[in-house]
Symmetry: C2
Subunit: 112 residues, 2 copies
């Protein structure tokens, strides 16, 4: 996957997930995240995502074609289990924001 | 600053800035970012931000009370100069998305 994610012209939707976690090696977090990344790519309406983590702060922004497809992903069984584990073990705090992207513009370097 | 950023109840606005850059030590990037972070806190309508960077990918999400205040920050002279430097030197690619946050919910661990 290459960041920034490639997305269609607006409008579309963004789920902004910011988290702070207690980094415990071997707590299964990395494996579960890999599982969720593989799974989300199969979800209807999924457009792509960007993710970064530093100093214990993680930001993952996923892009979607509709709020209905966001709701379907939120309610998916494997994802619900991961959400429970997140609250039980991995995260000290998180905030999830659902937003409608109205405008977007980008830049890409072209060497000459 | 503590992440996740504390924000008022929706609706409010998010500017999602994702970037890929060629990490060149001593290119003045870190100093300029510190200057911009200090400056943005003085902008009318600024609510907070979250930022993370890993594997050359940066995500900064800033939160605002209105699109007018986002436009004012975009047009601010010192910020315009930083944007020019970003395109000339620091970034290989970026995408900037302006979104309206309609729903938000969070979690914070409370030890018992």
């Amino acid at each position: 996957m290459t960041s920034p994610a490639t997305t269609p012209p607006p409008p579309y939707y963004a789920v902004i997930f910011t988290s702070r976690r207690n980094e415990q090696p071997g707590d299964g977090y990395a494996e579960e995240i890999d599982r969720m990344y593989a799974l989300v790519h199969q979800q209807p309406g999924f457009l792509g995502f960007d993710t970064a983590r530093s100093d214990g702060v993680g930001i993952t922004v996923s892009y979607w074609d509709s709020e209905e497809h966001i709701a379907a992903w939120k309610a998916k069984a494997e994802h619900l289990a991961a959400q429970r584990e997140g609250r039980a073990r991995w995260y000290d705090a998180y905030e999830l924001r659902v937003a409608r992207v109205d405008r977007a513009y980008g830049f890409e370097r072209t060497e000459v």
